[in-house]
């Protein structure tokens, strides 16, 4: 049974199409991430699921019931907003129980629910405070509490952490993940932050320009990006995209100091050969570009231009085929700036894209 099904959904504002032909089905208990740059339509889609935005075409189904015409009240959902949206005139207790009150739940029941939710989120001591007396983190916790109180079939989160400072964001991220593991209720979570997307999601829908570019598990998205957009959006530092010539089962790579015909695995080479174009884009993640470890047969000597230590890793910047390329290595093997270092390529993990369409070839 699908908690949420989005079938061929589109949205137009006047002349402009903000969402095009969205298809997503969510299983019970799933944590789904909608991620993409601002303006990609992810928040609009979330508002449409909530019933705050009308649907131009297509169907949204909640618990096997089409809800296109239903108001938010009639959908079994709760939502957490980016700017908390706590009612400033009500104290925390009243904020949490407002949804129940609007649904006619009696007083005793409401008090019990508030108690349960407050305990779960450890905000019992804040119940009599007004939102203005709370810190950002506390406010977001209350906002989550307000959603929890309703015990809905589906939780919606609209960039709930983007207003918090970096440290708090990481803490709250963990808390949301724990919450999900405890409640096992389905959640749709909108973010523009790819790290949030990777750490929280069971599945991720990467969106851009009103379309779902790829829908998959974090691993699928990371290891097998459907196109160059997804490959570039997920991962930090971003994947290296090296334009190169493909011929005879290998691609030609040149640093300012040397050249190499990099042999590709047979399966990859076959696909590229079938594609039939010599000019392709090779995508290599920084961690798949490493200093050669003795065997330098398949390595390219590169002059290291910049060294960026981050603590656990050190990033090396150089140029291959006149494109700036980042390699990741452990700090112990990091060379000095200006030295030349042979780099090897993990050809098994490398991906290839069409030069024009940016679609994945191999």
């Amino acid at each position: 049974m699908a908690v949420l099904k989005i079938d061929n959904v589109s949205k137009t504002f006047g002349e402009t199409r903000v969402l095009e032909d969205i298809n997503i089905a969510m299983a019970e208990g799933e944590f789904l991430i909608l991620v993409g740059p601002s303006g990609c339509g992810k928040s609009t889609l979330l508002n449409m699921i909530a019933g705050l935005e009308t649907i131009s075409s297509g169907t949204i189904t909640l618990d096997d019931t089409p809800v296109n015409d239903r108001s938010p009240r009639e959908r079994d959902i709760a939502m957490v907003f980016q700017f908390y949206a706590l009612y400033p005139n009500m104290n925390v207790r009243k904020n949490i129980e407002f949804g129940l009150k609007m649904r006619g739940v009696d007083k005793g029941e409401r008090a019990k629910t508030v108690e349960r939710v407050a305990k779960m989120l450890q905000i019992e001591n804040l119940l009599d405070r007004k939102p203005a007396q709370l810190s950002g983190g506390q406010r977001q916790r209350v906002a989550i509490g307000r959603a929890l109180a309703r015990d809905p079939a589906l939780f919606l989160f609209d960039e709930p952490l983007s207003n918090l400072d970096a440290k708090l964001r990481v803490e709250m991220r963990t808390e949301i993940k724990q919450l999900h593991q405890r409640l096992k209720t389905a959640m749709v979570y909108v973010t523009h932050d790819q790290i949030e997307a990777m750490t929280l999601g069971d599945r991720i829908a990467v969106m851009n320009e009103g379309r779902v570019q790829q829908l998959g598990t974090p691993h699928e998205i990371y290891d097998n990006p459907a196109n160059r957009y997804v490959a570039g959006f997920i991962g930090s530092p971003a994947m290296n995209f090296i334009e190169c010539e493909f011929a005879n089962g290998s691609v030609r790579l040149s640093s300012p100091e040397a050249s190499l015909d990099l042999a590709l695995p047979e399966a990859t080479a076959d696909k590229l050969a079938k594609h039939g174009q010599s000019k392709v884009v090779m995508g290599v993640r920084p961690e798949h570009l490493a200093p050669a470890d003795g065997d330098e047969a398949n390595a390219l000597a590169c002059p290291i231009e910049i060294v960026e230590p981050t603590g656990p890793d050190t990033y090396l910047l150089t140029h291959i085929n006149d494109i700036e390329v980042t390699a990741r290595c452990t700090p112990s093997v990091a060379p000095d700036v200006g030295t030349t270092m042979p780099l090897t390529f993990d050809t098994e993990r490398a991906v290839f894209f069409d030069c024009q369409s940016d679609e994945r070839i191999a």
């Binding site: 049974m1 909640l62 618990d63 096997d64 019931t65 015409d69 239903r70 108001s71 009240r73 009639e74 959908r75 079994d76 649904r103 079939a153």
Partner: protein, 309 residues
């Protein structure tokens, strides 16, 4: 399956609520929209129509073309009213702006009791113009007011009898009106001054500009929008001026302090010349519209620029 779901009850559809929420917002705007259509736009059309009829004591629907306007333009008393409005309007606006800007700049010098002073400068605006008129009528009373006071100090030749002097009476209206509104203009300018980034002033001073120089070439030019809205406000107040003149001079001596608003009232309601009154009202509206035009154009331009960003 929906019917076996324990939550099925929670999401029961209530179409009547949905319909209510769709219609209530529209319905609740209806009274105001309707009132505006009838009492503002309908009445504007009606008044314009009346000005094109030969209505006298009672409104009629006999179309008379522009005859009322022709009659109006031949009446000395109308032109006296218009000339008075010109004198009054120009002086009122100019003096209010001068006093307002001057006091605002003074107040903006980190003054100690600023709040108190502002409260004092602004209170006249809370008064009815009738009260203002009554008070100034007393102050300007030649036999017992300011003239009498100065004479009693020993300057026996002092003369300040504008209130009963047909050539000068209109200036007493200016005096009272300026007293009422200049504190408000001060507050407007002060708000504008507070909106200016003080780092600009600091930067100019570091560049060697003196404080008066900074005011003349940086601060005052950047108050353009305040000048704009203050002028529009004052001009439309001037065109609508009625109560103050009635209370202060009652239009006199003779017709010497008539304004279009008094003309409109007197002809429309006291002399049974509805057509003429309507024509005068229509011309007043045209004058306000003319005064608004620059602002409307500026606003439209700003909106267009804002959209292209």
């Amino acid at each position: 399956m929906a019917e076996s779901s324990p939550r099925a009850g929670k999401i029961a559809a209530t179409p009547w609520r949905r319909r209510l929420d769709r219609w209530l917002p529209k319905v609740s705007l209806v009274p105001s929209g309707l009132a505006s259509l009838i009492f503002v736009y309908g009445f504007i059309a009606w008044t314009i129509w009346l000005s094109l009829t030969n209505s006298t004591l009672l409104p009629t629907n006999n179309f008379a073309g522009l005859r009322q306007y022709k009659v109006l333009f031949q009446l000395d008393i109308w032109w006296v009213s218009v000339a008075n409005l010109a004198i009054f309007g120009i002086l009122y606006v100019a003096i209010c702006l001068a006093i307002g800007l001057f006091l605002a700049i003074m107040l903006d010098q980190k003054i100690r009791a600023e709040g108190w002073l502002r409260t004092i400068y602004l209170y006249p605006l809370a008064l009815s113009l009738v009260v203002t008129g009554v008070v100034w009528k007393w102050l300007l009373n030649p036999s017992l007011g300011l003239q009498h006071f100065v004479q009693s100090l020993g300057w026996t030749g002092f003369s300040f009898d504008w209130l009963i002097n047909p050539h000068m009476a209109i200036y007493t209206v200016v005096i009272a009106a300026v007293w009422q509104a200049s504190g408000f203009v001060t507050a407007l300018f002060l708000a504008g001054l507070r909106g200016i980034d003080s780092s600009i002033i600091k930067a100019a001073q570091i560049d060697g500009a003196s404080l008066p120089r900074v005011y003349l070439s940086i601060i005052i030019p950047s108050l353009r929008p305040v000048f704009f809205s203050a002028i529009i406000l004052l001009v439309s107040l001037a065109i609508k001026s009625f109560d103050l003149v009635i209370a202060l001079t009652n239009g006199g001596p003779g017709y010497s302090t008539w304004l279009p608003a008094i003309f409109m009232y007197d002809f429309g309601f006291n002399r049974g010349q509805i057509g003429l009154g309507a024509a005068a009202a229509t011309l007043m509206m045209a004058a306000v519209a003319l005064a608004m035009l620059p602002m409307l154009i500026a606003e439209l331009k700003e909106r267009r620029d804002g959209r292209s960003h």
